[in-house]
């Protein structure tokens, strides 16, 4: 009885045959991401002051403050610290970007985070600036 009505979706099927392919040839062509896409984190070492707010705000515990030297304030020695990011565990939520009042952090559109070596995702860019 039902057999007579099986071709209900036939018209749609024909339309789909002539429609543009949906598949993206991603590895061979660059994939597009939205403007607000939250990808790999990046830091501008010149703007970072080492305040450590990003470390306190990170829900995934990605950020570690590392001592890079000392500076003298009055007659006291104060440690200079800079953040080191373990991007392997980063969840790209962007809370550190929101909380950084110096605008040193930003999330880029880079999403290709598959690596052979976990260490290669540890970002130590901020350590290079020594005051």
């Amino acid at each position: 009885m039902g057999r007579r009505r099986v071709g209900k979706a036939f018209g749609e099927m024909l339309r789909m045959v002539w429609a543009r392919p949906v598949t993206v040839k991603y590895p061979f062509e660059p994939a597009k991401v939205a403007g607000r896409f939250r990808g790999k984190l990046d830091i501008d070492p010149a703007k970072c002051t080492g305040c450590g707010v990003c470390k306190n705000s990170c829900p995934a515990g990605v950020i570690e403050m590392v001592k890079i030297g000392t500076r003298k304030v009055g007659d006291r020695e104060i440690e200079n610290r800079r953040p080191v990011f373990d991007l392997y565990t980063c969840i790209s939520c962007g809370q550190c970007v929101d909380d950084c009042r110096f605008g040193a952090l930003k999330l880029t559109g880079d999403f290709e985070l598959a690596v052979f070596d976990k260490e290669s995702l540890v970002m130590k860019k901020a350590l290079k600036i020594v005051e």
């Binding site: 039902g2 057999r3 009505r5 099986v6 209900k8 979706a9 749609e12 099927m13 789909m16 949906v22 991401v33 939205a34 403007g35 607000r36 896409f37 939250r38 705000s57 990170c58 829900p59 995934a60 969840i91 790209s92 939520c93 962007g94 809370q95 929101d98 999330l107």
Partner: protein, 410 residues
């Protein structure tokens, strides 16, 4: 099975596994790729399902406990990861529970934006479910078409929030960013497109025999059973009981953008299909209405790190039904207790009721019908009542079995 045998079985009280002569079967229920593995033991008489026992709790990840070690703001990103489909429902339920504790009022624009994203999420969740019903009934073409259309909603979500799944968009005191420029036009275009497609799919699932044969009269839940077992969301509404948190206890901007609560009286999978498609159409209308009424002004307020002492309960209508959050603060920078009740938890007993009286071939469709966050079907053990024989079928075998069983019956 005779009446007497049935009574004997029930007298033992301990359930099906002990009734099996082979005793309790060791069973590895956790599948690493699945979010919510659940275990159903089916007692069969021939191929008819006589009784069902569900066992849950295999992926107890300790999220509620982990929440006690995180600060209030960090917890948004944690609780969002309870569910990969309705993540925004979790984040607004938690945020609003905390906002209610501290007494801060979110700006109107922020509440409107929350409503828009919550409804976009409902559309994508319902379309995902509809595609899965297509898949489990052997109508994979429908699955492909619907998931193709769903991509457009996900692209829209990505354009607004920056991510397709874990949106990380709601924050304490509002939303994290304003809507991007020029989103109104693309939103209008996409919503009109979705509405057109929903009309087409409504007609298709009503008349296409591939779907009708597998869904009409299958997985029927009576209103009495619904009252007894207390399911939530579309499953409850499909039995004719009109319950919707968005209407009964409006949150975000639902007091101004009023949803139309859809119900149906059949209580089977076919009526669930229609119901969810109607809800998608209604969500499209609500999004367009919210975009038209979108007020100017701020979208978030500064929120303090410390939340005052007290208890707070908040519930929202997630795509699958009522999602419930209990938050307790001891007046510090961390919550002292958070309790979550997800909709699938409430629906699981109703799903076991829906399975009774149907055949083994209907199991995938019925279990998908309750929208169980994927995981339920991949692990099933089957107990044959006569011989006590017990064997296992995985999701794919069961799907093939269902399609073969029904081929030639359409």
């Amino acid at each position: 099975m005779s009446e007497e045998q049935d009574r004997e079985l029930r007298k033992t009280g301990a359930g099906l596994m002990e009734y099996s002569p082979e005793g309790i079967m060791p069973f590895g229920p956790v599948h690493p790729s699945l979010k919510e593995p659940e275990y159903f033991s089916l007692l069969l008489e021939g191929e008819k399902i006589v009784d069902v026992q569900a066992r849950i709790g295999y992926v107890h990840r300790g999220i509620e406990r982990a929440g006690q070690d995180n600060t209030w703001i960090k917890n948004i990103y944690l609780f969002e990861r309870v569910c990969g489909i309705c993540s925004f429902a979790h984040s607004i339920a938690y945020s609003q529970a905390v906002e209610a504790l501290s007494g801060f009022v979110v700006p109107k624009r922020g509440r409107y934006i929350r409503t828009i994203i919550a409804e976009l999420e409902r559309i994508h969740s319902h379309l995902l479910w509809l595609g899965l019903v297509g898949h489990w009934t052997g109508f994979d073409t429908l699955f492909m078409w619907i998931w193709k259309d769903r991509e457009r909603v996900l692209d829209l979500i990505e354009a607004i929030t920056g991510n397709r799944v874990h949106k990380s968009y709601s924050t304490l005191g509002g939303v994290r960013r304003d809507l991007p420029d020029g989103i109104a036009e693309s939103m209008k275009k996409e919503m009109e497109f979705i509405q057109k497609r929903v009309d087409y799919y409504s007609e298709l699932v009503r008349t296409e025999q591939t779907i009708v044969v597998r869904t009409r009269g299958v997985g029927r839940l009576s209103q009495d059973a619904a009252r007894r077992l207390c399911p939530v969301g579309p499953l409850l509404r499909s039995t004719g009981i009109s319950r919707d948190v968005r209407v009964e206890d409006p949150y975000a901007a639902y007091d101004e953008i009023v949803p139309e609560v859809k119900t149906s009286n059949e209580g089977d999978i076919a009526s669930l299909l229609k119901l969810r498609l109607d809800e998608v159409a209604d969500s499209c209308r609500m999004i367009l209405e919210a975009m038209a009424k979108l007020p100017e002004g701020g979208y978030k307020i500064a929120f303090p790190r410390v939340v005052p002492r007290g208890d707070s309960v908040f519930h929202v209508e997630a795509p699958r039904g009522e999602l419930f959050y209990f938050v307790r603060s001891a007046g510090s920078i961390k919550p002292s207790r958070v309790k979550i009740r997800t909709p699938t938890m409430a629906n699981i007993l109703a799903a076991t009721e829906m399975l009774k009286g149907h055949t083994l071939a209907d199991v995938p469709v019925v279990l998908t019908g309750m929208d169980p966050c994927f995981g339920c079907m991949d692990r099933l053990s089957v107990v044959e009542a006569g011989s006590g024989r017990e064997w296992m079928m995985n999701g794919e075998q069961l799907r093939t079995f269902g399609i073969e069983y029904y081929s030639g019956k359409g």
